[in-house]
């Protein structure tokens, strides 16, 4: 019967799923209704009667949900403007909801953003080294020219997140699906990627020299004009991956072609298109499986 009460609330709250304050209201309401239902049962009512009285006690909840959603939106607005040009090292932002927050030109080293929902936020030119982004929702966030040295991204949500020109040395990405993420012009040689998949990720102009990308999955990824000397893709999966040098026969593109020949693809699996383009660039594909 508790399931039936929960289902009833799920129906009412479906439209507002994900709004934190509304989720709290739902949890409060659920425990109230469960207690009421138990009391009604203890008074000798049958299941059906008890359920009906319980549901009847809710009243006009739609307006309340709307009010609560509006209150929290105004709270989120207050958060918005506050953190630009701030000096807030080791701050606690764990679990906060701050859509389109601004953390620009700020010092936030060692801060805790774990579990926070920062969708659409901007961290331009900020220092967030050694910060914790575990489980953080960074969808549509801009982290342009940041210092992210040593930051942790365990099971973070990275969709259309831009890390362009940021310092990401010693940052650690574990169990992350990077979707349409941009890592343009970053030095990733000492960045750690464990159990990650890269879907539509842009590594253009990155420095990946000597990196091990073994066993990782790359779909629709761009390695155009990327420094790829001695990179290993052992046992990696590559689909629709693009390797393009500069358009003209410059010294830069010569370097790119030379670098392609130093990449180790042993045991990698790739689709025909990726295979063909790499073959054209003279890569060693002798131990590659075409899928």
């Amino acid at each position: 019967m508790n399931d039936r009460i929960k289902q009833y609330l799920d129906g009412i709250f479906a439209l507002y799923d994900g709004v934190k304050s509304v989720n709290e209201l739902k949890a409060d309401l659920l425990s109230d209704l469960q207690e009421r239902f138990c009391e009604l049962k203890a008074d000798g009512n049958d299941d059906e009667t008890a359920f009906k009285i319980t549901i009847d006690s809710i009243g006009d909840i739609e307006q309340t949900v709307q009010d609560v959603a509006n209150l929290s939106r105004s709270l989120e607005r207050q958060v918005l403007t506050n953190f630009s040009v701030s000096n807030l090292p080791k701050s606690d932002f764990a679990g906060v909801t701050a859509h389109k927050g601004k953390f620009e030109v700020s010092t936030l080293c060692g801060s805790d953003f774990s579990g926070a929902d920062l969708t659409g936020s901007s961290f331009k030119i900020s220092g967030v080294r050694d910060s914790n982004f575990d489980g953080t929702n960074l969808t549509d966030c801009t982290l342009y020219m940041n210092n992210l040295t040593g930051a942790s991204f365990n099971q973070s949500i990275l969709v259309r997140t831009e890390f362009n020109m940021s310092e990401i040395t010693h940052a650690k990405f574990t169990d992350v699906k990077l979707i349409d993420v941009k890592l343009i012009m970053t030095d990733l040689r000492k960045t750690i990627f464990e159990n990650c998949t890269f879907n539509g990720v842009d590594f253009n102009y990155c420095d990946l020299r000597g990196m091990s990308l073994d066993g990782l999955t790359f779909i629709g990824v761009k390695f155009d004009k990327t420094a790829l000397n001695e990179v290993t893709f052992k046992g990696a999966t590559l689909k629709n991956v693009s390797f393009i040098a500069a358009s003209t026969w410059t010294s830069w593109s010569k370097k790119y072609y030379r670098a392609i020949k130093t990449i180790c693809f042993d045991g990698a699996m790739m689709d025909k298109l990726t295979f063909a383009s790499l073959k054209g660039l003279g890569a060693d594909l002798s131990k590659v499986t075409v899928i």
Partner: protein, 109 residues
């Protein structure tokens, strides 16, 4: 459990004050508040959950009350509400207004 529209409309304007009064006697969780109102009015007025939470969230937002998680050892955790200094001041003000209004209405009807 009678809730005629007329009485509920008249009472609704005072829900915040009623909640503040109850929390003034001690911290409470949501269902506790509806239950006390039910028993204090001998079942003549039933405060709907929706109406109560509108009041609680409004009061919390303006800083008249605050909430915290209880530490129940069994069953689900409950959020308790607690009155603040600001809330006590608001209650005193509302109560004075009500006394005044009551006198005026009694003279007129």
């Amino acid at each position: 459990m009678v809730e005629s529209n007329i009485s509920s409309d008249l009472i609704r304007g005072h829900i915040d004050t009623i909640i503040l009064k109850l929390l003034g006697d001690g911290d409470k969780y949501g269902y506790e508040i509806t239950r006390i109102i039910h028993s204090k009015t001998n079942g003549e007025f039933e405060l709907k959950e929706a109406t109560m939470y509108s009041g609680l969230k409004r009061l919390e937002h303006e800083g008249s009350i605050l909430s915290y998680w209880g530490d129940e050892t069994q069953g689900g955790r409950r959020r308790y509400y607690s009155i603040t200094k600001k809330g006590r001041q608001l209650f005193d003000k509302n109560k004075k207004n009500w006394e005044l209004t009551k006198k005026i209405i009694e003279k007129l009807i």
